[in-house]
C-alpha cells in the first residue's frame, strides 16, 4: 500500500527566518482499541514525507521478522512488548509539520486497561483527533475518551471515521455514525469542529482529498488539524499564582512559581490564600546573561517567575497568590467529578492526600454521590469507585483550601488524589450547593482590644443556679427541631432555668434580614447565630438554636465560638419521614422545583459525625424527646 501511494510530499517551506521558532500545537489521537489510530498517524507521516530516512524500511523489516503484514503501529509502538502483542501500552509522541505549523502528535492507548496512560497523553494536548471505525461504529472507548477529553479540559475535538473502505465509502452509513457520535458529544458539551470520513490504510482524506468520497466536501485530516487554534494563555483572567517555593540563595528572599492565570505588575497589592496575608510586590526577579536585558516590571500567565515583597511575611509553598479583589474560593468542602486510576477502589470515608496546584493536604471522601456511566451518562449509587470509573463525590479537608471552580478557572480548579505513594485519580471542582467561606473567616476589624468583664462566669453560674451553654439542634426540615425546642424551652423555664430559643425564621426577620438563601449567605446566617448563641451562653443563659444547619463546616465554626459550652443535638428523622410530615409544605414545593437547593432533596445534609446527643424523632414521641433533653441538661448544666 504505501508503495502505491503517490505521496504528495508537503515538506514545510523553509523560507522563513531560520532563527525564529515555529508555532507548535499538540494533538492527541484517541479512540477505541483497533480503530486505526496508529495507522492514521503512519499514513499522515508517510504522505507528508515526514518519515526519517530508512524508517519505512525498518518497520517493514520488523513486520517481516514477525511474519505479520505491514503495520504502521510499529512507528510509535517502540517497546518490544507492544510490537510482539500488537497493542499500544503507553502513550508516545512524534513530531510532524505542515506549512502552517509544527505538531507534536501524541498517540494514546485505546485499551481500557491502559487508561492512566491515555490520560497521561491526552492531558498534554491542545486538541484531539478521535478515531472511530466505520465498520464497528461508536464503541465504549469512543464515548469514554470523548468524555475524558472534556473532563481534562480539552475543548477542540475533530473526529475521523476510519476504515471507510470497509463500508464501500458509503455516505449513508457515515451519516449515521456522525449523527450518533455528534449527539453523544453534544450531550457532554463538546462540539466537534469536523467529522471526516477517512481510510487511513488507503490514504483517503488524510492528506489528499478522496476521489472515492466525492460526496464529502469538508477538509482532510491535515487541514482539520491546521484549523485548530493554539490555546491562548489566560492572561486576562483574575490572577492565580501558586507559590512553588521560597528561595534565599543570597540576600534576596524570592517567592517562586508559575503564573497560572492573569497578570501582575510591580507595586500590586496581593493576598496569599488561605493564610490571607497581604503584601505588595516589590520586584520581579530575573536572571539573564543577555546584555542589556532588564528585569521585567510585569508578568503574566504561563511565565515561571520570582518576586520579592515590600515586607517580610512568612509564606510557604501551597499558598495561592491573587489580587485582593477577585481572590479564589476558600473552603474545606467541595464537590468533584473524578476519574479513578488507583489499584485499590476509592471508598467513602477513606483519607487521601490532595494535590491542588502546589498545595498538598489530607482530605477525606465525605460521600460518593454517583458513579457515571460514560456510555449513556446514567448514574448509579455505590459506596466505592473502581479503577477507570468516573464519579461525582464530595471531598472534605481538615483545613481551609484555596481553589476555584473548574468551570471558571480550570488550572486552579483541578486536582489529583494521592493514595500512599501513587497518583490514584484526578478531578475537577464544583461548588454547587457549597459556600465560599472566605467571607466568614476574614476579619475586617482592626485595632480591637478585648475588655475584661467585672462579673466572672462562676459568679453568673452561682446566681443562676446552672451553667450557660448552647444546645445546637441540627436536622432536616420537618425533623421536629422547632417543636422539640419550644417544648423544651417551656419545660426548662418551668423548672427555673434561664432559657431562650433562637429560631431560623425569627432571626431572619431582624439580625439576618439582609441575607439571602445563596450558599454564602446561608453560611453567614449560621455564623451570626453561632456568635449570638455564644454571647447568650456567656451571659449565663441556656440557648436552644433551631436551624437545619446542614453543613459540617458551619456547625464546627459555631462550636468554635462557644467552645466547651457547645452541645450538638442531632434531631434525627429520615427524608421519607420528614416529607410525610411536611408541616410547611416545603417538600412539595421542592419536589415540583418551585424551591431550589432544598436540603435533603436537591441540596446535601451532612449529618453530625459525633454529636453530644441524638434525638430520633421518627421513633420517639415529642414528650419523650423533651424528657431525654431535660435529663441531659440536668446532668450537664448543673453547678
Amino acid at each position: 500500500m504505501p508503495e502505491a501511494s503517490e505521496a504528495k510530499v508537503r515538506l514545510a517551506a523553509v523560507n522563513q527566518n531560520p532563527s525564529s521558532a515555529r508555532d507548535l500545537l499538540r494533538i492527541v489521537i484517541v479512540g477505541h482499541v483497533d480503530h486505526g489510530k496508529s495507522t492514521l498517524v503512519g499514513r499522515m507521516f508517510h504522505d507528508t514525507g515526514s518519515l526519517p530516512d530508512g524508517k519505512y524500511e525498518s518497520i517493514k523489516a520488523m513486520c517481516e521478522r514477525r511474519g505479520v503484514p505491514f503495520e504502521w503501529a510499529f512507528l510509535m509502538d517502540a517497546l518490544q512488548a507492544e510490537r510482539d502483542q500488537g497493542i499500544t501500552i503507553d502513550t508516545s509522541q512524534i513530531w510532524f509539520k505542515t506549512d502552517a505549523r509544527d505538531y507534536t502528535i501524541i498517540d494514546a492507548p485505546g485499551h481500557k486497561e491502559f487508561l492512566k496512560n491515555m490520560i497521561t497523553g491526552a492531558a498534554q494536548s491542545d486538541a484531539a483527533l478521535l478515531i472511530i471505525d466505520a465498520a464497528e461504529g461508536v464503541r465504549e472507548q469512543s464515548r469514554r475518551h470523548g468524555y475524558l477529553l472534556h473532563l481534562l479540559g480539552i475543548r477542540q475535538v475533530a473526529v475521523a471515521v476510519n476504515k471507510m473502505d470497509l463500508i464501500n465509502y458509503e455516505k449513508d452509513q457515515f451519516d449515521l455514525i456522525e449523527q450518533e457520535y455528534r449527539d453523544y458529544l453534544t450531550s457532554i458539551g463538546v462540539t466537534p469542529t469536523f467529522v471526516i470520513p477517512v481510510s487511513a490504510r488507503a490514504g483517503d482524506n488524510i492528506v489528499t482529498p478522496s476521489d472515492a468520497m466525492a460526496w464529502y466536501k469538508g477538509p482532510t485530516v491535515v487541514k482539520a488539524l491546521d484549523s485548530f487554534m493554539p490555546n491562548a494563555a489566560p492572561v486576562d483572567r483574575p490572577l492565580r499564582f501558586p507559590v512553588q517555593d521560597v528561595y534565599k540563595f543570597d540576600h534576596r528572599r524570592i517567592i517562586a512559581g508559575r503564573i497560572e492565570e492573569g497578570r501582575f505588575s510591580v507595586g500590586d497589592e496581593i493576598v496569599f490564600s488561605p493564610s490571607n496575608k497581604k503584601a505588595r510586590i516589590k520586584s520581579i526577579e530575573y536572571w539573564s546573561t543577555v546584555p542589556g536585558k532588564q528585569a521585567p516590571t510585569e508578568a503574566s500567565a504561563g511565565e515561571s517567575v520570582g518576586i520579592t515583597l515590600d515586607e517580610q511575611i512568612f509564606v510557604e509553598r501551597g499558598e495561592l497568590i491573587s489580587h485582593v479583589e477577585e481572590s479564589p474560593i476558600e473552603t474545606d468542602v467541595f464537590r468533584a467529578r473524578i476519574f479513578w486510576l488507583g489499584q485499590e477502589p476509592m471508598t467513602k470515608g477513606k483519607s487521601y492526600r490532595i494535590k491542588l496546584g502546589t498545595l498538598e493536604a489530607p482530605v477525606t471522601i465525605q460521600s460518593i454521590e454517583s458513579i457515571i456511566d460514560t456510555s449513556d451518562l446514567s448514574n448509579t449509587s455505590s459506596h466505592q469507585v473502581e479503577r477507570n470509573q468516573v464519579a461525582e463525590i464530595v471531598i472534605r479537608a481538615r483545613r481551609m483550601l484555596a481553589l476555584d471552580e473548574f468551570a471558571t478557572a480550570p488550572r486552579t480548579g483541578r486536582f489529583v488524589l494521592i493514595d500512599k505513594y501513587d497518583i490514584a485519580g484526578g478531578g475537577i471542582v464544583s461548588m454547587e450547593g457549597y459556600a465560599d467561606q472566605r467571607g466568614l473567616i476574614t476579619s475586617r476589624s482592626t485595632n480591637i482590644t478585648r475588655v475584661e468583664h467585672g462579673v466572672t462566669a462562676e459568679q453568673r453560674t452561682f446566681r443562676n443556679g446552672h451553667k450557660g451553654g448552647v444546645l445546637w439542634f441540627t436536622g432536616l426540615s420537618g425533623a421536629g427541631k422547632s417543636t422539640v425546642a419550644v417544648a423544651l424551652e417551656k419545660k426548662l423555664f418551668d423548672k427555673g432555668y434561664n432559657v431562650y430559643v433562637l429560631d431560623g425564621d425569627n432571626v431572619r426577620h431582624g439580625l439576618n434580614a439582609n441575607l439571602s438563601f445563596s450558599p454564602e449567605d446561608r453560611a453567614e446566617n449560621i455564623r451570626r447565630v453561632g456568635e449570638v448563641a455564644a454571647l447568650f451562653a456567656r451571659a449565663g443563659v441556656i440557648v436552644i438554636t433551631s436551624f437545619i444547619s446542614p453543613y459540617r463546616s458551619d456547625r464546627d465554626r459555631a462550636r468554635q465560638a462557644s467552645d466547651k459550652d457547645f452541645h450538638e443535638i442531632f434531631v434525627k428523622a429520615d427524608v421519607a419521614t420528614c416529607e410525610a410530615r411536611d408541616p410547611k409544605g416545603l417538600y412539595k414545593k421542592a419536589r415540583s422545583g418551585e424551591i431550589k437547593d432544598f436540603t435533603g432533596i436537591s441540596a446535601p445534609y451532612e449529618a453530625p459525625e459525633s454529636p453530644e446527643l441524638i434525638i430520633d424523632t421518627s421513633a420517639l414521641p415529642v414528650e419523650e424527646s423533651v424528657a431525654m433533653l431535660v435529663n441531659y441538661v440536668e446532668t450537664k448544666f448543673k453547678v
Partner: protein
C-alpha cells in the same frame, strides 16, 4: 510568550518541583548541547545559582574538546562539580556487542556514582524526539533499586502533577528537557548565546549531531558551520539524530534493553 519561552517556563517549573520535593538530587552533565541547555535553565530557575551537584560520569573516552569545555565552564558557571569514573571495561559482561558493552559500562559507572553519593534523584537531559523509547518517558520517572526502568507500568502524569512520593529505595530520573526537540535546543542556544563545543560545527564536510564516546560516535555529512546553518539543516534533514550513535543500532531492541537496565 513564544514557543521557546513556553519550553523554558515548563522546564523551570519542573526544576523547581523536583528541587522542592526531592532531597539529595544532582544533575548529570554529559557535556553535550542538551545538558548545557539544561544547566542554563537551572540557572534561570534558581536565579543564577545551580543549587545541587553537577556530575560527569566519565568514560575517559570523550573528545579532548569536551574535556576542555568541561574544565572551563565548571569553573566559569560556578558549579558544584563532581567527576566520577566508570569501572574498567573488563568488569562488564563480555557477551554484549561492543557498543552495547561500552554503554553498559557507563550505566555501571552511573549506578556506582549514585550509590557513592546517596543521590535519590538525578536530572537527565534526555528528549522525547531523540529516540522512540525516550518518547514514552515520564518527566518524573521512577527506577527500581538496581536502576531498572519498568516501562510497562509507568505512573500517570497529568496537569503538571508529577509522582513525587516514593517508597524508600526508589531512585528517580527527572527530565526537564523531555518536551524539547533538537531544533528547539539549537534555537534556544542561539537566543541565549549558550557556549557550544566546536565539534557540532562542520569541518571537512562533517559534523557531530550527537556527542558520545570517541570510539562509538561518528559524524554526519554536513556543511553547517554556524548555529543558524545547523537549524536550517535540521529543518530539511531526514536523517535521525542518533544515527551516529552505534549502541542504538546493534539490534532492534538494543536501546530499549539498555534503557530498561538503567541507561539514560
Amino acid at each position: 510568550m513564544d514557543r521557546l519561552d513556553q519550553l523554558e517556563s515548563q522546564s523551570i517549573f519542573i526544576f523547581r518541583e523536583a528541587f522542592n520535593r526531592i532531597e539529595n538530587i544532582a544533575m548529570l552533565w554529559s557535556l553535550g548541547k542538551d545538558s548545557n541547555v539544561m544547566i542554563w535553565l537551572a540557572r534561570k530557575a534558581f536565579f543564577g545559582h545551580v543549587p545541587f551537584p553537577v556530575m560527569h560520569v566519565d568514560t575517559e573516552k570523550k573528545f579532548p574538546e569536551m574535556y576542555e569545555f568541561r574544565d572551563r565552564y565548571s569553573a566559569e558557571w560556578n558549579l558544584n562539580f563532581i567527576r566520577e569514573l566508570c569501572p574498567p571495561l573488563d568488569t562488564i559482561d563480555d557477551t554484549l556487542p561492543p557498543a552495547a558493552r561500552s554503554a553498559a559500562r557507563k550505566t555501571e559507572g552511573l549506578k556506582l556514582a549514585i550509590k557513592k553519593h546517596g543521590f535519590n534523584a538525578l536530572f537527565a537531559g534526555i528528549r522525547r524526539d531523540e529516540e522512540a523509547t525516550r518518547a514514552k518517558e515520564r518527566v518524573f520517572s521512577p527506577r527500581g533499586t538496581t536502576g531498572q526502568w519498568d516501562f510497562k507500568d509507568q505512573p500517570p502524569e497529568f496537569w503538571d502533577q508529577f509522582k513525587t512520593d516514593f517508597p524508600p529505595g526508589t531512585h528517580i530520573r527527572v527530565h526537564p528537557l523531555l518536551h524539547w526537540t533538537e531544533i528547539d535546543i539549537w534555537l534556544y542556544t542561539l537566543r541565549e548565546q549558550i557556549p557550544t563545543i566546536p565539534l557540532y560545527f562542520a569541518k571537512d564536510g562533517k559534523r557531530f549531531r550527537s556527542l558520545g564516546d570517541k570510539d562509538i560516535t561518528s559524524p554526519v555529512a554536513s556543511t553547517a558551520t554556524t548555529i543558524e546553518e545547523i537549524i536550517e539543516e535540521l529543518r530539511t534533514t531526514k536523517i535521525s539524530e542518533r544515527s551516529g550513535r552505534a549502541m542504538d543500532h546493534e539490534s532492534e531492541d538494543a536501546f530499549e534493553r539498555l534503557r530498561a537496565d538503567g541507561y539514560l
